[in-house]
Symmetry: C2
Subunit: 273 residues, 2 copies
């Protein structure tokens, strides 16, 4: 999917919402457990209930691979079920030496090998250039590089001071030598609202994938203030706040209501642009 396609979808839906599919067998409603593939059935109903309100889905790989081969099969079916106009993110935080990163890229971008055809994958920067560039060689596909994450542990390394800036700023600066805003996005956590102005100075045109609203405490309005750019430039994710809004048979309806609240708020923020 191109940047223009993504922006068109945002304008059409008046939304920059991503629904995170952190689907956990221990948390989905009990009545689904009798299904042949409860995780897929849950995702299917969540997708049906939210696909007109969001522009992206983000399956969190850990929640699938913890069930081994069966989990990968649920993931494949889920991805196949997501309509083609929605942007898909493999939240996998991969990254290894060049030949191995290329294998990971094949995993997420080459359906003939793996059965999966994601639009993008999240990538960890620690191993540097040759760990990231293999993800950048696929037409219409994206690497979303971790810059400043939403969790407590971001203080340990991402805020370390190097010569004249923080490590996460170095990640943003150096990675721009590898690809432009048509292939690369950054993860910037919603809990780090104060950092968005600095991020936008370094990466004015890039899309930012923003996790951490809802359960983790980030605030949408705060992020939008400095984060929005002329092509929106934000994909804001909510996982638990939407998909686990109810643990009963009405889980999909309740998920829709939560997604709708965020979509309305986003519509309002986009109109003010």
């Amino acid at each position: 999917m191109t940047r223009e396609d993504l922006f068109e979808e945002i304008k059409k839906k008046r939304s920059f919402l991503c629904v995170g599919l952190d689907t956990d067998l221990d948390k989905i409603p009990a009545h689904l457990l009798k299904e042949e593939d409860p995780v897929f059935e849950f995702n299917k109903q969540i997708i049906d209930a939210t696909k007109d309100l969001c522009i992206a889905y983000k399956p969190n790989l850990a929640f699938y691979e913890c069930r081994g081969a069966a989990g990968w099969e649920s993931l494949r079916k889920t991805l196949e079920y997501i309509p083609g106009n929605l942007f898909t993110i493999a939240d996998a935080k991969r990254g290894d030496i060049g030949n191995t990163s290329l294998m990971y890229a094949q995993t997420f971008f080459n359906p003939e090998k793996s059965g999966l055809d994601f639009d993008s994958v999240t990538v960890a920067p620690y191993m540097g250039v040759d760990s990231v560039t293999p993800f950048l060689g696929f037409e219409g596909k994206w690497a979303i590089l971790l810059a400043l994450t939403s969790n407590e542990g971001n203080k340990d390394f991402q805020y370390l001071e190097t010569e004249d800036d923080f490590l996460y700023e170095k990640v943003i600066t150096i990675s721009q030598e590898w690809a432009g805003p048509d292939r690369l996005m950054y993860v910037v956590g919603a809990t780090q609202a104060d950092a968005f102005a600095d991020v936008r100075k370094l990466a004015p045109d890039h899309f930012l994938l923003v996790p951490g609203i809802g359960a983790q405490g980030g605030n949408l309005k705060e992020i939008a203030k400095c984060g929005l750019n002329k092509q929106c430039g934000l994909i804001v994710n909510s996982s638990r706040g939407i998909i686990y809004a109810s643990s009963g048979e009405d889980f999909a309806e309740k998920a829709r209501l939560e997604a709708e609240k965020l979509q309305k708020e986003m519509q309002h923020l986009l109109e003010k642009m």
Copy 2:
């Protein structure tokens, strides 16, 4: 597996060799392709041919997951086939926010959930404390944290200067607040031989997982000089140099010869300790 168990195995085998199972359908001998699961069949023969010469096996996750559910099934069967006295490493470079890292830990350490029961998993440090600690809570299991990797891209961030040391040194220092040398190891690339003295100052007792000899150019003797400690403290990996020593029907024999060369060299280095 405990540190003592691992050291016993090293003394018994006179070896600190790890065989990397980067098993690629496009590279294994053609005659295996008629098997039901060629990747497992290849691994099985490699394991049979090398298990008395090495102390660990390290499947590289990318090479399995790029084949989707089928690849995970090959991985599960491979792991099950490895004898219990050998240390197993899921080379997965995982790491995410706390609840997600816990799912990854379950993937590799909880056979009831995933079918996999590895002794250890490689973990990326970028997301800090809560991304690593979930891997440290399993009795007899290990996190192997990326410190200084073997690839070209290590220059981008790992050698960035922070206050008074390099980022990779900060990773080693800070992570020691999370666990001791009974739960935590570090990845230090064989291509970085000059750094081993500095690493040993910071982490005298830890086991180091050392990739990058052979195809990547690292030298065993150079690493051993500063890397060996009183419990050996090194697990040196070779992947391509062993498993792809021949592309013919004699691949397992030739793999054994390459493993034997390294084992002999290691025996010699251990005797000089």
